[in-house]
């Protein structure tokens, strides 16, 4: 049975992954756009280190807003974000963002795009290109270093975006619906590759999606958000064994039950 908690930032409720510390703490975050658009209401949340946390919810639930507040790209109206216990304002080197629309520089090659985060830190050209090449290989697009973004498919562009985020060696990866602009086949392949990659890289990932299947398939922790204003509806830990292959997982009863349960939870917001 899934473990549902009402707005509880605790991660230690008897699950095998207990005793893990929270690398990111979200405290009482409230966000208004202007005076009348109430996007988020008093969000409290802990993101356990080394795990994949997904924000899932219908459109308008403020999931991207919350992610951008954690990234420091948006100012919360009230509340604070703690990284490793210390409050932060604005972006920092411990977090790297993967954008929904990729946000690649169209005038720069794949190599320069991937190295861009390091370029901004004034790292030497040789050094940063060495790092970039490593991550280009790691996301599986070797051989495309000198291509321009417009010469790549959507899926490959997002791999560039991911390599760029990995290259700055941040502990937390923030991914804003990274697969929404690519087709379903590419998306599935990308999800599998992402899981492999994270097993190697040991990052903490916060992932925004509107796909229930994607959330259940990828996550250690799913934060279900309800809309207008965005509130935490429940937190679910799917506890799916990652040892099985992707095809087994997608046929796993536990996986299917979670998908169904979340759908039952979310459908009431559609009526």
């Amino acid at each position: 049975m899934p473990t549902s908690l009402q707005s509880m930032p605790r991660a230690d409720d008897g699950a095998p992954v207990s005793k893990t510390e929270n690398i990111v703490e979200v405290r009482d975050i409230t966000k208004f756009y202007g005076t009348d658009v109430h996007a988020l209401e008093k969000i409290n949340l802990g993101i356990p280190v080394g795990q994949m946390t997904t924000f899932l919810g219908p459109s308008g639930c403020g999931k991207t807003t919350l992610l951008k507040i954690i990234a420091g790209l948006l100012e919360p109206t009230s509340g604070e974000i703690l990284i490793k216990g210390a409050p932060v304002s604005g972006p920092g080197p411990e977090r790297a963002f993967v954008f929904q629309d990729f946000a690649l520089l169209p005038w720069a090659t794949v190599l320069r795009n991937v190295a861009f985060g390091l370029e901004l830190r004034h790292e030497a050209k040789n050094e940063r290109e060495k790092v970039a090449r490593h991550y280009i290989a790691e996301v599986g697009i070797s051989g495309f270093e000198q291509k321009y973004p417009h010469e790549l498919s959507g899926g490959m562009r997002q791999r560039v975006g991911l390599a760029r985020a990995l290259a700055v060696n941040a502990e937390v990866l923030l991914m804003d619906e990274p697969f929404s602009a690519v087709d379903e086949q590419t998306r599935r392949k990308f999800q599998e590759d992402l899981l492999h990659l994270l097993a190697v890289e040991k990052k903490t990932v916060i992932f925004v999606t509107h796909s229930i299947e994607e959330a259940v398939y990828l996550s250690d922790q799913i934060v279900l958000l309800s809309p207008r204003p965005g509130r935490i509806h429940s937190i679910i830990r799917p506890e799916i064994s990652r040892d099985a292959g992707p095809d087994e997982i997608r046929r796993d009863k536990n996986y299917l039950d979670h998908v169904e349960e979340i759908w039952q939870d979310l459908r009431k917001y559609l009526e």
Partner: protein
């Protein structure tokens, strides 16, 4: 959807196999057709002041051969280049500043919108009163026509710089200066360059107008002089050369734009 795109691409590649030359052929035919009509119109003649195409071409080559045309173009292009240089330097700087700074924008945008929409050509006769009829007057004429369009394009280019790229730069802790130099300006440069191209076209109008109205020199003088002595073939040759010259200049600027600034629009990679 996917199939229609695939189909039209297939159609296109088929057309380029032997159809591209067909298009060029049509274009050449349309040019020849126009020249033929011109020739016939001159033979009729539709007016005493309408020389044939062949007379005009002969006059054109004579004028090039005896150096009159070249001297005239030197006279016309010098103020054009100076004027565009000044407008580009000042206009791009101001436009970029307006795009980056709200106060700048508040102060400068309305006046340039007025100047771009208004028929400022009316002011050209006044220039003489301050700058006489020399080089300076022509330079000023170029600037008043070219500057507003350059400023406004640079401003719009910066204002419309991709919000997501700026956010990307922020998320990697880029400083404001890095954001401007590494993201905003490269992102804006195609539109800024397009503004410069429009500025050249506008400046060309300005310099010709100044030559026709106030300072009888350069290519404008060739037009007025040959009209006054009723050498219509020479006059038409001068006008014809202006149109051709501007078509070539603007065309090659456009090509340079695609080549250097929009690799994504380059065809046939």
């Amino acid at each position: 959807m996917a199939t229609t795109i695939g189909l039209s691409n297939a159609e296109k590649s088929e057309a380029s196999a032997f159809g591209l030359s067909k298009i060029t052929l049509y274009q050449l035919l349309s040019i020849l057709g126009l020249f033929a009509l011109w020739e016939i119109g001159g033979l009729v003649p539709i007016s005493v002041a309408f020389p044939t195409f062949s007379e005009t071409t002969v006059a054109l080559f004579e004028m090039i051969a005896d150096g009159r045309m070249i001297a005239a173009y030197a006279d016309t292009l010098k103020p054009l280049l100076i004027g565009i240089g000044i407008s580009a330097g000042f206009g791009v700087t101001l436009g970029v500043a307006m795009g980056l700074n709200r106060r700048f924008q508040w102060f400068w945008e309305p006046i340039f919108i007025v100047l771009q929409a208004a028929p400022v050509a009316a002011l050209i006769p006044l220039i003489t009163f301050i700058y006489g009829i020399g080089l300076a007057a022509k330079v000023v004429a170029v600037i008043i026509l070219a500057l507003p369009i350059i400023v406004l394009n640079s401003y719009k280019a910066v204002r419309n710089a991709s919000a997501s790229l700026i956010q990307m730069c922020q998320s990697f802790q880029g400083t404001r200066l890095q954001q401007i130099w590494k993201v905003i300006i490269p992102n804006a440069s195609p539109v800024i360059f397009a503004g410069l191209r429009l500025g050249v076209a506008a400046g060309f109008i300005g310099v010709i107008l100044a030559e026709l109205l106030i300072t009888p020199t350069g290519i404008g003088d060739l037009i007025t002089y040959h009209r006054s002595v009723a050498e219509y073939a020479e006059m038409y040759a001068a006008v014809f050369s202006v149109i051709v010259f501007s078509a070539i200049t603007v065309g090659s600027l456009e090509r340079a734009e695609t080549r250097f600034f929009r690799p994504d629009k380059k065809v046939g990679r």
